[in-house]
């Protein structure tokens, strides 16, 4: 009996560790776009070329797949110590990146802190793919440019109505108000995450996007509430909602994810 219990305990511990390991090895829905946040300066032409080479090398078996010439996100080399964790600056203005963005604007770009390395890596690996998947569903193929109109990333504060730190205090979250997507033909679309617009293509897009983001999270986050699914304000939405996220999607990389 004792041996059986010991064996079960060991198996249980092993299973938990395996879950975490599997997460770190799992490729995204389109792994050919995966890039590492390696601390290189992605803003220079040389490093951009390096990134393109890396992608081409990782995609050598798919000979017909297009090779990206741009990186997904542009992060600064310098790792900075914030109040509770480390972070790098995301350059939302980089011309070499597919994903650009700015605070409270559809056109004016800016800089924002993103948790390093976990959230930065995760965004770099999965964000473009999840947007592309959702965009395809509403008739937009292969976004050439994604501009995030956001409401901030790093903010050293408690979660609202709580006395525990928000994911923003770790720079593990970005509040997205609008996504401006441009495809290869120059066609543009503005996706709103405001509750007043949650219908038609906005609804279709966000339901798909959140499902995709949820699938990038490890099993350890499945019972962790809405932090891991890109929380939006509509309680009746496909994955539930948080009434304080009515004019943005709170996209985070919660502690349960690593």
């Amino acid at each position: 009996m004792k041996q059986t219990i010991i064996l079960l305990t060991i198996l249980l511990l092993g299973a938990c560790k395996q879950t975490a390991d599997v997460y770190h090895q799992t490729a995204g829905p389109n792994d050919s776009s995966a890039q590492s946040v390696d601390g290189n300066n992605h803003d220079t032409n040389d490093s951009t070329q390096d990134s393109a080479n890396d992608i081409a090398a990782s995609d050598s078996n798919a000979t017909t797949a297009p090779v990206k010439t741009k990186i997904n996100f542009s992060f600064a080399t310098k790792v900075e110590e914030l109040a509770h964790d480390k972070a790098v600056k995301w350059d939302g203005c980089s011309k070499n990146a597919f994903v650009k963005g700015g605070y409270d604007s559809d056109t004016t770009c800016g800089k924002a802190y993103i948790h390093y390395p976990k959230f930065a890596q995760h965004l770099d690996k999965y964000f473009y793919t999840c947007v592309a998947d959702a965009a395809k569903l509403i008739g937009f193929n292969k976004p050439e440019n994604i501009f995030i109109n956001h409401m901030g990333t790093y903010n050293d504060r408690d979660a609202r109505g709580s006395n525990t730190l928000s994911m923003h205090a770790y720079a593990r979250a970005i509040d997205i108000a609008y996504l401006n997507i441009t495809d290869a033909s120059g066609k543009k679309i503005r996706i709103s995450s405001n509750v007043r617009d949650y219908k038609g293509i906005n609804k279709k897009f966000y339901d798909e996007f959140r499902q995709c983001w949820k699938e990038t999270m490890p099993k350890s986050c499945e019972k962790g509430g809405s932090e891991s699914i890109g929380s939006i304000g509509i309680p009746s939405s496909a994955l539930g909602g948080n009434s304080l996220h009515n004019d943005h999607i709170h996209l985070s990389f919660p502690k349960c994810a690593g």
Partner: protein, 147 residues
């Protein structure tokens, strides 16, 4: 020995469960700084306009919410939010309905976009939100509610 293993297993499992919990935003009714109720013409429906000040949210501590009460007897906190706008500052007491009765107008100020786009730690650590100097009128269209 058997008991020890069982206890250790239970402790381990509870720690795993606790580790899953990440704090999330929770509505705090104490943060409501303005609550006005407007009647919709020729109807028993009412419109609740709530303004909250949730504090620390980066550059946008104020949240304006429009919550229609089509039966006219609901608790505002349980009514659905059908339109909303976050702002750096709100002119409290200046909310009004237009003459036609189909719009709620509220005066607010947005954040200082340039400051927040700089990514400066000094800005991000500022205790008070940095607002734009310009005010604007935000209009909430009521035409489609309670039809």
């Amino acid at each position: 020995m058997l008991n020890t293993i069982l206890v250790l297993t239970i402790i381990f499992l509870s720690r795993v469960t606790v580790a899953h919990e990440d704090s999330e935003d929770i509505l705090n009714e104490k943060n409501v700084v303005q609550h006005e109720i407007y009647d919709i013409r020729n109807s028993k429906a009412k419109i609740h306009v709530i303004v909250r000040n949730d504090g620390h949210t980066l550059g946008k501590p104020f949240v304006v919410e429009v919550r229609p009460d089509c039966k006219g007897d609901g608790d505002w906190a349980t009514l659905p939010v059908v339109d909303t706008e976050s702002a750096c500052d709100v002119s409290l007491g200046a909310t009004k309905m237009n003459k036609a009765g189909n719009e709620i107008i509220i005066t607010l100020r947005g954040p200082n976009k340039a400051a927040y786009n700089s990514g400066s730690l000094k800005v991000l650590k500022s205790e008070k939100p940095l607002c734009s100097s310009e005010t604007k009128e935000q209009k909430f269209n009521l035409a489609s509610f309670c039809k």
